[in-house]
């Protein structure tokens, strides 16, 4: 405790003399509300304030508060969480969980000008850009026993949407946008892309690769869960609020998060400042849901949730004004569906 001077002593005396009676009452903290949130009052203090007082160095009204997710956002997320229930598809021994992800991802090429070397082309910002969205499908079969063999088949459907330039331009420049397709991988524990020296099933879980062990260790309290995601999101270097949304999107879009955790992830999202309802009738792959999004760094990141069932429909990234592409251009989206099938490689009845 630091020592007090005469001023502090005098002030304490005056305080206790003039207002000490306020303290004599019984301890009513249990019933009174702590003065925790002053936001409404702060927001009222609008108006530019000039530092006109003699000696006042820093004087400006405290506006520009970052709002936490609004009541409407929290309510919609919590309501969606309530509706998820325990509605996980039940996979019996011998059966497979089938996860199908439809994705539109952006491909972008900078075309060489005549006489430009490959290295120059790579460095060039003056070359003509051709960009397009391409539809990809990723099908994953997850065995009842997740330590057993999984299969993943990914392919481009050949559907493209040209955003800048044309396909003819791209082909004329010697670029074939058709990836070799489809690609099939098999691996125990779903470790399709083992990192150097790692054997399957040794992977440490992450938000992008949630293992059952990783999932089991997550906090069950939504705010703690939010803090946990934030720990990781801060490392991400980008904007943490947008990163939290992306992490949740990453985690859910694999289709492997149990219902209770998905519900908690929605509840955790209610703690993200700036999260807004962007569209109550967002259409993703023909399914309608409510979109929760954040605008950051020229992009809008959204997750879209079916408000009737609470099920996650997918994620979407849209460019905002100010970039090369027109505002509102969708530059990636993914839609998820899951079902149960009888064998590896089988498709659900449509």
């Amino acid at each position: 405790m630091r020592t007090m001077g005469k001023f502090e002593d005098q002030l304490l005396d005056r305080l206790l003399t003039q207002h000490g009676h306020l303290l004599a009452a019984e301890h009513p903290a249990a019933t009174a509300t702590a003065p925790k949130r002053h936001r409404a009052r702060w927001v009222a203090a609008v108006g530019t304030v000039a530092a006109v007082a003699a000696g006042v160095v820093v004087a400006q009204a405290p506006f520009g508060e970052t709002p936490v997710a609004s009541a409407a956002v929290a309510e919609a997320l919590n309501s969606a969480a309530d509706k998820i229930g325990s509605a996980d598809p039940v996979v019996a021994p011998g059966q497979y969980l089938y996860v199908e992800s439809h994705r539109w991802d952006m491909g972008s090429y900078v075309l060489a000008k005549d006489g430009m070397s490959e290295a120059e082309r790579r460095m060039s910002e003056s070359g003509r850009t051709v960009s397009y969205l391409q539809e990809n499908v990723i099908q994953t079969w997850v065995p009842y026993d997740r330590n057993q063999e999984w299969m993943q088949r990914s392919y481009a459907t050949g559907k493209r949407e040209w955003l800048q330039g044309t396909e003819a331009e791209l082909r004329a420049a010697g670029v074939d946008p058709d990836a070799p397709s489809p690609e099939v991988r098999r691996a125990k524990c779903g470790d399709f892309y083992p990192e150097g020296g790692m054997r399957p099933c040794e992977r440490e879980g992450s938000w992008q690769e949630p293992t059952p062990e990783f999932v089991a260790e997550l906090p069950t309290d939504p705010e703690e869960l939010y803090e946990e995601i934030l720990d990781e999101a801060e490392e991400d270097g980008d904007d943490p609020a947008a990163a939290v949304l992306e992490f949740v999107d990453d985690a859910i879009q694999r289709g492997l998060m149990p219902a209770a955790l998905r519900a908690n992830l929605y509840r955790a999202l209610a703690f993200v400042p700036d999260l807004k309802i962007k569209d109550r009738n967002a259409n993703l792959d023909g399914r309608i849901g409510i979109s929760f999004g954040i605008d950051r760094n020229g992009k809008r990141e959204e997750v879209i949730i079916d408000s009737k069932t609470g099920q996650y429909i997918g994620g979407r990234t849209t460019v905002l004004a100010g970039g090369e592409l027109p505002a509102g251009t969708v530059i990636s989206y993914s839609a998820l569906s899951t079902s149960v099938v009888g064998e590896l490689g089988a498709l659900p009845a449509r």
Binding site: L23, P35, D239
Partner: protein
């Protein structure tokens, strides 16, 4: 000068608790204002105003919900905002704070020392003039006043998670401003 008579209370009661909070943190409050004004009388008035509000709402202060320092600096911040608002509207700040006596020479001298001690913090705040008030608030509380993020969240009336995000963004913007001015 005779010591004023104090309200009676059992030992360990709320008076003792308030006194303890006061003794522990009054210097944080004077420092907070010393970073904003070089006038000792202003520091004194604003500190007094803060603690009048604190003693009035002490009954509602629940230590379980946050540190006393966070709570006090939250009040200080509010007091300063009200003060600025009054100044900008041409109201005489002294009138609002009527009832507080003038500092004597010793007290003024003490506060001048305090104000001087906050010179570097004040310069830092000055240097952040391009940042929004919200950005400066978080940087001041965490990086200048040395509060942990949870305490600062209480002071600003926001959730700890929102605090972390705000601090992250504010530091990013500060780096950008510093980079632009010196880079």
């Amino acid at each position: 000068m005779a010591r004023p008579h104090r309200a009676e209370a059992p030992p360990g009661g709320r008076i003792a608790e308030f006194e303890q909070v006061y003794r522990a943190h009054v210097r944080d409050v004077t420092a907070y204002f010393a970073r904003r004004t070089r006038d000792p009388q202003n520091v004194a008035d604003l500190t007094a105003d803060t603690f009048v509000r604190a003693i009035t709402s002490f009954a509602a202060f629940d230590p379980a919900r946050g540190s006393p320092r966070g709570w006090l600096l939250g009040i200080a911040r509010h007091v300063f905002a009200r003060y600025c608002e009054g100044v900008s509207r041409g109201r005489d700040a002294a009138a609002r704070l009527a009832g507080w006596r003038e500092l004597d020479v010793d007290e003024a001298a003490e506060l001048v020392v305090r104000i001087d001690a906050e010179r570097s913090g004040r310069a830092l705040l000055d240097g952040m003039a391009e940042l929004s008030q919200a950005d400066r608030d978080v940087i001041e509380l965490v990086d200048i006043a040395g509060m942990d993020r949870g305490e600062a969240a209480v002071a600003l009336g926001i959730s700890p998670g929102a605090m972390r995000i705000r601090l992250f963004r504010a530091r990013g913007r500060l780096r950008k401003v510093v980079g632009e001015n010196h880079g």
